[in-house]
C-alpha cells in the first residue's frame, strides 16, 4: 500500500534530498519496472540506431575503405570538400530532384482525382479501393520486373497500345530522355492507392453541410471544390507533399532493379550513388558524407513540416 500512496502523492518531493540520485531512483520499485519494460527496445535503439548515427558522422570525416577496421585515416572535412566538386553526386542530386518534381505533384493530382470520384458514394467503391491498393502492398522488385516487360520496346503492351493510335514505338527504359519519366510513371502507379486513402480520409473530414450550404447559395460544383474542398484539404495536401518529397529523395529499389542508374547516368539517384560508393567500391567514409548531405535535404523538408504543424496549432515534438 505504501507504494501506491507514494505514486499518487507527487513522487519528487517524497524522498529526502540527502539520498544519492541513484538510490532515489532505485528505491522506487515502480520505476524499475518501467525501465525493464522499455529495456529491450532501448538496447536495440542504442546498438542499431544511436551508435550507427554517431559512427556515421565519424565515418564521414575519415577515409574509410573496405569493411574491415583497418587503415581509416581521419581526413577532417576532405570528404565534404570533395563532394562539392563531385559531378557524379550532383548529377544524382539533379536526377533525384527531377524525379521528385515529376512524381510528387503527378502522383498527388492523379490520386486526388481518383479520391474525389471515390468520395461520390458510388456503389461498389470498396472493390475499387481493394484493387487500387494492390500495387501499394506489392514488392518493388516484383513490380519492377513486371514493368520492365510492359515497357519493352518490341513486345511490351504499352508500345502495342500506342501503335494502335499511330504513335511510333518508344524505347522507354533505354532512352535517357524517357527512362526517368518511366520510373516516375511506375512510382505513381505504385503509390496511387496509398495517396488515395490519405486523400479520402481528408475528404471525409469535410462536413457535408458546407457543400449543401454552398449549393443553396447557387455555387457550382467547381466553385464548391475550389473554395471549400481545396482550402480545407490543405493539411492533407501539405502532408502528402512533404512525405512525398522525403520519400522521393530516398528512392532506390526501382532504380536498382530496372535501370541500374542508366542509360548514361540519366536515372542515377542519390541513394543509388551512395549504395555504389559504399558497397561496390567500399568507399565508405565518402559515402557516409554523401548520406549526411542527403539527410540535410530531407531534414529541411521535415523542418518545414514541423513548422507548418505548429502553425496549425498542433503540439509537435520541439
Amino acid at each position: 500500500m505504501a507504494t501506491a500512496n507514494r505514486t499518487q502523492a507527487g513522487v519528487d518531493h517524497y524522498v529526502p534530498a540527502k539520498q544519492s540520485l541513484w538510490k532515489r531512483f532505485w528505491s522506487r520499485s515502480n520505476e524499475r519496472v518501467g525501465y525493464l519494460f522499455i529495456l529491450p527496445s532501448l538496447i536495440h535503439l542504442i546498438i542499431f540506431v544511436i551508435i550507427p548515427l554517431v559512427f556515421s558522422l565519424y565515418l564521414s570525416f575519415t577515409d574509410w575503405r573496405g569493411p574491415n577496421f583497418q587503415n581509416a585515416p581521419f581526413v577532417g572535412l576532405d570528404n565534404y570538400e570533395f563532394l562539392l566538386g563531385d559531378r557524379r553526386y550532383w548529377n544524382a542530386m539533379r536526377n533525384t530532384a527531377w524525379y521528385t518534381i515529376l512524381s510528387v505533384p503527378g502522383g498527388m493530382i492523379a490520386s486526388l482525382i481518383v479520391a474525389l470520384v471515390m468520395n461520390q458514394k458510388l456503389r461498389g467503391v470498396y472493390i475499387f479501393r481493394t484493387l487500387f491498393f494492390m500495387p501499394v502492398i506489392s514488392s518493388w522488385v516484383a513490380v519492377s520486373v513486371i514493368w520492365i516487360t510492359l515497357l519493352d520496346p518490341n513486345a511490351g503492351i504499352l508500345n502495342y497500345v500506342l501503335r494502335q493510335f499511330g504513335i511510333p514505338p518508344v524505347n522507354w527504359l533505354g532512352d535517357p530522355a524517357t527512362a526517368m519519366p518511366s520510373i516516375v510513371l511506375i512510382s505513381i502507379w505504385k503509390g496511387l492507392g496509398f495517396q488515395m486513402v490519405i486523400w479520402l480520409a481528408g475528404l471525409q473530414a469535410i462536413p457535408q453541410e458546407l457543400h449543401e450550404a454552398a449549393a443553396i447559395d447557387g455555387a457550382t460544383r467547381l466553385q464548391s471544390f475550389l473554395r471549400i474542398t481545396l482550402p480545407l484539404l490543405a493539411p492533407t495536401t501539405f502532408f502528402l507533399a512533404v512525405t512525398g518529397v522525403i520519400g522521393s529523395f530516398q528512392v532506390f529499389s526501382p532504380v536498382y532493379v530496372i535501370t541500374q542508374g542508366g542509360p548514361r547516368g540519366s536515372t542515377e539517384v542519390v541513394v543509388y550513388n551512395i549504395y555504389q560508393r559504399a558497397f561496390e567500391v567500399f568507399d565508405m567514409g565518402y559515402a557516409a558524407a554523401q548520406a549526411w548531405v542527403l539527410f540535410g535535404v530531407i531534414f529541411l523538408a521535415t523542418l518545414v513540416q514541423l513548422w507548418y504543424r505548429r502553425r496549425q496549432g498542433e503540439e509537435v515534438l520541439f
Binding site: V33, I38, A155
Partner: protein
Amino acid sequence: MVRSHNPFELPLKIIGYIILILVTFMMVIPFVWMVSTSLRPQSTAFTYPPQLIPTEITFASYELLFTRVPFGRYFINTLVVTVFTVLGQLVITSLAAYGFARLKFMGRDLLFVLYLATMMIPYQVTLIPLFLIVFGLGWINTYQGLIIPGISSVFGIFLLRQSFLGVPSDYQDAARIDGANEFTIYWRIFLPLNGPALATLAVFAFMGTWTDLLWPLLVARTPEMRTLELGLAYFNASATAFRQTNWPLVMAAAVVVMLPVLVIYFFAQRYFIQGIALSGVKS
C-alpha cells in the same frame, strides 16, 4: 438532400464510373500480365500482338523455378526472417509501448521524445555503420544478421502506445488492487484488449520485411541466404545480362514473391488500409 436534385448528378456518376474503370484497367493489367506470362510456354512469350490471355497454359516455369533455381530455399529464408522479425517487433514494441503509456519513471517523456526523434533519420545515414556493426559481430550471411536489426521499431512503439493510452485506467487499477504485477497486467489485459493495433503492426512488419530489398542485398552473401525479393532481383539481373530473358520464368518468380503478400492482404485488408491511413495521419 439538396444534392440529389442536381441535374448533373447522373452524368457525373457515369463519368465517375468511367474514370474508375479506366484506372482499374491500369492498376490490374500489370498483375494479369504477370500471371498470364508466367503460365505461358517459353515459345509463345514474345508473340505479337501481345496476348493478355494465353492460348496455351503450362506450369513448366513454376516447376523450373523450384528445381533449377533455389526458389524453395529463398522462400524458406524469407519465411524464417519474416516470422522472427514480426514476432520480435510485436514483443519488444508492445513491452516498450506499455512502459511509455502506462508506467511512470524518471526521464520517461524525454526518452520517448528521443525515440521519436530517431524516426526523422533517413535509413541511408545509419546504413553503412549498421552494416559495419553487423560485420563486426560476424553476422554477415546469417539469419541473425538479417533478423536482429529489424526486431524493434519506433513507429511500432508509437502506434501501440497510442492504442494503449486508450485503455481506461480503471482496468489497470483494479488489477493492481487484486495484486497483479505489471507484467501480468500487460500480458493479460493490455495485449488482449489491443488486438487490432497489434494486428496492424504485425501486418506492417510483415510487409516491410517480406518486401525488403536493400538490407538482404547487403547481408546475404551466398545464394543459400537470399530472400525471395533478393533472389528475384538477382534472377532478373542475370536473366537480362545474357540478353535472353526468360519472361515466363521471371514472371513466375514474381508471382511466387507476391502471392503470400496478396493473399494476406485480401484476408486482412482492414489492417493494411487502417495502418497506412494511420501512419499517414500521425507520422
